[in-house]
Amino acid sequence: MTIATLKYQSQSVSRNYFIAAMVLFAGQVIFGITLGLQYVIGDLFFPYIPFNVARMVHTNLLIVWLLFGFMGAAYYMVPEESETELFSPLLAKVLFWVFLAAGALTIVGYLTLPYAKLAELTGNDLLQTMGREFLEQPLPTKIGIVIVALAFLFNITMTVLKGRKTAITVVLLMGLWGLALFFLFSFVNPHNLVRDKMYWWFVVHLWVEGVWELILGALLAYVLVKTTGVDREVIDKWLYVIIAFALMTGILGTGHHFFFIGLPGYWQWIGSIFSAMEPIPFFMMTVFAFNMVQRRRREHPNQAAVLWAVGTSVMGFLGAGLWGFIHTLSPVNYYTHGSQITAAHGHLAFYGAYVLVVITLISYAMPTLRGRIANSQKAQAAEMWSFWVMTIGMSVMVLALTGAGILQVWLQRMPTEGAMSFMATQDQLAFFYWTRVAGGVIFLLGQFLYFASFFIGGEPVRADTVKTSASGGVLGVRPAQRA
């Protein structure tokens, strides 16, 4: 079956990756709401799904679905950018099922076995890597991730090598190779907890505040090239400047995790100074997205994708930039470290930067994978609403967690004498935690709406029928919404 809207038929392998990503995303949110409820109804689902198990499922699903999203994005973008078919579509199809099976088995293992039993059965004694936050996966899963990543990178790299090399694919490849490379530190688990923690951040920080930003930049740049028609030279230049600042601030910015885990005091200076500059690339990304949309050469029929792209840049700045900045200076972090402030930042940063950029790409790519340039006005309107509902839900959650964090710091951390205990403090935060659950439910509704938009039919918007906006600027995202 040939899909007329695809320049290269092998791009179609990405479709399964996007669908799997969205299904796992739904699972992540369900478990997230469960966790939110457990904060206020402590014994909910105990002992069947204890908090630690639900949390592991929540965070691991996030990582896995984002990886599905990144891989799908690469399979979609690279053939078109390289102007050649994918090196091996078959390998991409096989890897999809391998990765899905590995991911599903791991989740089933978490949910059905006691963690210590799972560790024993999967050979954790051979190489102890389990039981560290976000890296809870059993050894076979970790090895599986490495194998899938290498085979995927081989496929993508070979495709780039045989075709045209663009700034977008070069940056994307560097990001993806970096992702695989730094994951290798998940196998490093020294007996000394301090050393363990330091190398743990080589995976976690150098992913999300390092190489993933390259992937983010490449995806955003790609969608902006496609939807605005702005000259590539301009977009490429922005991309390089953004990622330059991302790494120049982000690498030494790792130091903001090294304040209080046993590492030398000089990290307080290094970490504070460089991480305080980490919002710069995110701010530039916002300016970049608005600027490109403002100077667009055409009205792309898929205005929903433009909204997601602009939304990524704004929410990424707020979550990763602003909410990161508020607690990144070491004298502030001394009080907020490991509090609900951290949780607030983590949620908004992941949503704003990575969740939204993957949806941006899916929003742009999915219609073309289904044989049209863009969805109908009605479907796009639903999609745009889903952006707002999810974003409002997330904002409610994050503001609630921020409030909880401030009160927690006030009661439990600030007093030098007679500070409130952890659990007594938690009881005082119930109002914020209930509000957070409400935000989570709003988010879930937005997610349903997003999924529903895939099933709304109607006449697709075509390039020759798209309404041109009278107002210009980023306000031009409105025409599709008005219909």
């Binding site: 907890l193 330059a244 046993g262 001394y334």
Partner: protein
């Protein structure tokens, strides 16, 4: 905006990216190397006994980090344990572990891990050692 700045080309931006990234990556590696030299002293590494190592394994294979924080890292559902030895003492920790879950309605529950006496001792040794790490005076007070 940037289009009008004719001197600043895509090549300049690319060179800034490569040059800047390599420079800061190398600088980071150098500082981490220095940090490595200081870890043994700051973490009181000579006190890492086989019991501490075994305790760390208990900590990991029971996924304690899924609810608790340790030196402020982990989940925020249950108390900080980096200083729990100082706050509560070893006997309390062992008694607590044995008494779980409390079963108090609607309260947060901790699973029963069925650790034997040896495993409990190892875990306490690990938490005791962790409490001696030089954390730049964090947490601000004993409540963690």
């Amino acid at each position: 905006m940037s289009q009008t700045q004719s001197g600043f080309t895509k090549q300049t931006a690319r060179n800034m990216f490569y040059g800047g990234s390599v420079f800061f990556a190398l600088l980071f590696a150098v500082i981490v190397f220095d940090t490595e030299q200081r870890i043994p002293e700051r973490s009181n590494a000579q006190a890492i006994t086989p019991a501490v190592v075994a305790g760390k394994k208990i900590w990991e294979t029971r996924n304690c980090i899924g609810c608790h924080t340790l030196l402020g890292e982990g989940a925020y559902f249950a108390p900080e344990l980096g200083n729990v030895y100082k706050r509560r003492g070893g006997d309390f920790i062992k008694g607590w572990m044995k008494a779980m879950p409390t079963g108090a309605p609607h309260r947060r529950q901790m699973p029963q891990f069925d650790l034997n006496e040896q495993q409990l001792n190892d875990l306490v040794e690990f938490l005791k050692w962790t409490g001696e790490i030089n954390t730049e005076k964090w947490p601000p007070n004993i409540e963690g």
